[in-house]
Symmetry: C2
Subunit: 258 residues, 2 copies
Amino acid sequence: MSTTDTDATELDIAQLARRTGLTSRTLRHYDAIGLLTPAWTGDDGRRHYGGREIARLQHILVLRELDVPLSRIGAIVDAAPDDAALAAHLTDHLAGIEAERDRYATLAATVRRTVAALKEGRPMTADDMLDGFDRTPYEPEARERWGDAAVDTSNARWDALGKDGQQRHLAAHQEVVEALGAAKRIGLSAGSPEVQEVVAKHYAWVSLFWTPDAETYCGLTQMYVDDERFRRNYDEVAPGAAVLLRDAAAIYAERELS
Amino acid sequence: MSTTDTDATELDIAQLARRTGLTSRTLRHYDAIGLLTPAWTGDDGRRHYGGREIARLQHILVLRELDVPLSRIGAIVDAAPDDAALAAHLTDHLAGIEAERDRYATLAATVRRTVAALKEGRPMTADDMLDGFDRTPYEPEARERWGDAAVDTSNARWDALGKDGQQRHLAAHQEVVEALGAAKRIGLSAGSPEVQEVVAKHYAWVSLFWTPDAETYCGLTQMYVDDERFRRNYDEVAPGAAVLLRDAAAIYAERELS
DNA sequence: GCTTGACATTGACGTCGCGTCAACTTCTAC
DNA sequence: GTAGAAGTTGACGCGACGTCAATGTCAAGC
């Protein structure tokens, strides 16, 4: 393979820079702070990026467009270990991107109106002139509501799991989701022993990352219901599974966590 | 008037901050660097802003959205002394805003496609994943092509003119434009003494700000033809006036400037 | 009148995300 | 074999504010 650009998913730093509009300096910076490590570094020290890194970089750049600081970007991107989680995250951020698109649209309208008013010598109110500038800073992750510290220790624990530990952890979650779906389909109640056992598993699963008390655990499962992208994760297996989990969690929390 | 927000065009720093989404710190910073000076400062040191300042701030914020550095923003905003010039500038920057809106739209599409691909386990090419991130930095002003230094000295001279000197200067330009329109309507040629006299006036007018040599003067008048928003300024008085000025300038430049 | 709380002011220093420069190595082309 | 382009690692610099400290001032309530 020559130095010419191919559309293979194996790129050196210059090719990646060209495609993203970043400078090679920026990519080196991202490497230095551990935000985007190259797939491999040649014996000569040169950085090479593969498909995984490109996907990760896309995620990074999306969040960067939303003015999320690099430190938080790192935490968020690290929290998307598999394709499903990544898809959920991206769907979330997509809303931010579209909001920004709409903001620029209203901004364009504002400027257009201003130009028209200027030409006709018409006055404008302050509010009209400034419509669209105020951007409420994007809240990148619902999970952020549960505290930065929690996310940090969560990531530490995740790293500590090692590769196959992570695999097993994801499988455990899948088990929980499917058990929950089965319970829902059979029509088991939230307080039934079977469902309570599933909740216990779920609580254990969550606790690997951070240990919520009764209140926060109820809050978390409530969020699974409120937030569409979380809810879908559960309701995909069986409609109403998210609500079942929330109700069961409330009972579990009162029995075991208070 | 109480402290409640009214839609009058007289705002204190907190009210302006609220409407723009800026912090008061940012507004103070803009004051400190001379980018946005309050209309008046009370005896207690508090800053108050009027209609002029709000319009100026809108211009500033538009350019800030396009990632133009504050130093250049200052130069550009200072170069829009009257409403007509401001309207022309804003029309220019409007293109940048709409480009940004479109970029976010393609970005949203890219993310959407990525999510779909992830869910179906489909692979994507690097180019597809990174479509829309590369933003060629916005070139804020055609005038920038003529050099930053020129703009700086230009602004200094403009300030040195004083209020009524600025008035007279604008009137002089209007004279040139109208004389040129009259010449065009009568059908005078670019080389005719009358038109050459108008060009001399125009060159003098331009020279107040920066003294172009033969080549740059030809380049400038060529830009008046190429660039729609400049051309309209001249062609509004008489169609083809911009071209007439360019041709006349070419002759003038060879005779007088080389 | 006095206190209290909210918000203003001016410095001064800190921070984030790179840009830029220097010194050096390494690959490719002629 | 040598030039030139592009990579590497430090190190420092910078723009646009954030943040903190010390202080002043205004409107309201007691």
